[in-house]
Symmetry: C2
Subunit: 328 residues, 2 copies
């Protein structure tokens, strides 16, 4: 007699576990033969209802965000995805419809990013829904792009645009804000979408491995993650706020309320990549980014000394009340 968990796995998750390593989710563990000469890169990230997503977010988006947060870590380290394990805590709210949407989102992204579900653990909880994912990637031995490794003189680059997700979250909390900021529907939808569904920069993994000295994925805000990147290399990093890549929606909001620059710099959920790159390698990295359809902006420089600074339009460092986003 199959238990409730078995039936749920059979119906929703076994169809996603087509990779031979997953053994059809019918064993106690998955098994992989690591690619020869490769290191494995291991990361874990979880999302919790009411903390990282709203209870009424679409289940499909919750699944995708949970997986993408992990893929973003792999991308920043230069790793190609191999697969993932998932530990799922489901409240009564997670009914058949919710589970069908969740499995659809998860399966779609697993396919898009070639990161198959290898195994998992599913439990009912009297508490909140949570999704913990551990993702695995591979790269040639010794080539992981670390946080440490930047050199004085390196250029600081960032993918995509910064702050959209944090502004999207602000709009989610205060829907009237879009009207006060005179955002058009396209701009509002852009910010909302960037909060709901990050874009892991997996397509840039190989080029980062080849060209970057150090990298981090921006999950807790540019300011805080720049500080971590600088500290890991025991060097200083100085970024010019005027060079930051901002969407037109973000530019409009900051123009209307300059205090929102704090949200842009210190908010979470960007899932862009911040990297230190030697100037000689910048053209090659830019070429790879262009081929991958990912914008790449040079925003600052690595120097001697310690600490991270974001220089405002007036030439002085911008002081942030809360430079790093934390749920604590």
């Amino acid at each position: 007699m199959a238990s409730g968990e078995d039936r749920l796995i059979e119906r929703y998750f076994r169809p996603l576990a087509r990779d031979p390593a997953a053994l059809g989710l019918s064993d106690d563990a998955a098994t992989i033969k690591p690619p020869a000469g490769c290191d494995l890169v291991l990361t874990t990230d979880g999302v919790i209802e009411g903390v990282h997503f709203f209870a009424d977010d679409p289940a499909e988006a919750i699944a995708r965000k949970a997986l993408r947060a992990n893929l973003s870590d792999l991308a920043a380290k230069g790793a190609e995805p191999i697969g993932f394990l998932m530990s799922l805590a489901l409240s009564a709210k997670a009914d058949e419809k919710w589970l069908a949407g969740f499995a659809k989102g998860l399966g779609g992204d697993a396919e898009t990013y070639r990161c198959p579900l290898l195994g998992g653990d599913t439990d009912r909880t009297p508490g909140l829904i949570s999704v913990s994912i551990s993702a695995f990637g591979a790269l040639p031995h010794g080539t992981m792009v670390k946080r440490a490794g930047a050199r004085a003189g390196d250029l600081i680059v960032v993918t995509g645009s910064i702050g959209d997700a944090a502004l999207g979250l602000a709009l989610r909390r205060d829907p009237a804000l879009a009207g006060r900021m005179r955002l058009n529907e396209k701009e509002r939808a852009h910010l909302a979408g960037r909060y709901l569904l990050p874009e892991p920069r997996i397509a840039l993994a190989e080029a980062l491995r080849e060209h970057a000295h150090a990298a981090i994925d921006i999950s807790d805000g540019l300011a805080g993650d720049l500080t971590k990147l600088a500290a890991a290399s025991h060097l200083s990093m100085r970024v010019e706020s005027e060079r930051l890549p901002l969407s037109t929606a973000a530019q409009k909001m900051i123009a209307a309320d300059p205090a929102l620059l704090e949200t842009v710099l210190g908010g979470g959920d960007d899932y862009e990549i911040l990297a230190a790159v030697p100037s000689t390698a910048l053209p090659a990295l830019q070429g790879a980014a262009k081929s991958a359809g990912i914008s790449l902006s040079e925003i600052g420089k690595v120097g001697e000394g310690e600490g991270a600074e974001i220089i405002g339009p007036g030439g002085g460092a911008i002081e942030l009340l809360c430079p790093s986003f934390s749920h604590f």
Copy 2:
């Protein structure tokens, strides 16, 4: 400025992450070079407050149980532990004292079982405490002991004793039961301890790899997991209840209330290993178990046909209302 999460990691978890692969928990991911010629075995298991442990269980025991549940999966597959990732959701209840106890338990077991903390993710939750662990093991290529693979004529063996944890849980829910069953303090403590702290049979991993055709770790009750093991090999498995290894405490409780046999056979949290072994290999496996200080009992046989049966003292199959423990 360090966030609350950073401070917490620094204080409680960085001291546990001494393995070079963990990069001092100061990067986005861990990296390991898999042992040459080996496959990796990947498993994940989570525990949730109020579901898998009681809110007032010692934090030290919660950490150890969470890790040990994963180690038990690795052991059953014949894998040697490499390390683990942990995703932690902490409620307000998880104060400094709780965290210190948790880290102590986790660190102690990571050392005992040579399974270092490689990375993690920590969040505050407005909900219940939960701990999700993904553990990794290694074994020579192609040697993972699967659930499938038993052959007709194989003997069925089980480690340790069965049902103690389920009876320990019953005592936890109804403390007066110990008195009604006339358990002495040693017997009561034995059952309580077996519920609180499973013993992963890691020391038997190599011998299982060498001698077992198929294996599963018993986490949802012998009856249900025997059914899974039989189904995976498309064979029948028949176990004699009189040969089941029962502790003296369990024997006493079943003698007082025969209905408790249902709890013993269908309860959860045994974390013993159930395996199908060719009769020619049994002496070698028994020798290895003896060397490791783990008892091993021959309890039944694999035959043609399908299905799992537990034969009672009268010679007929025992019918269970709920052969497999499920939190659903």
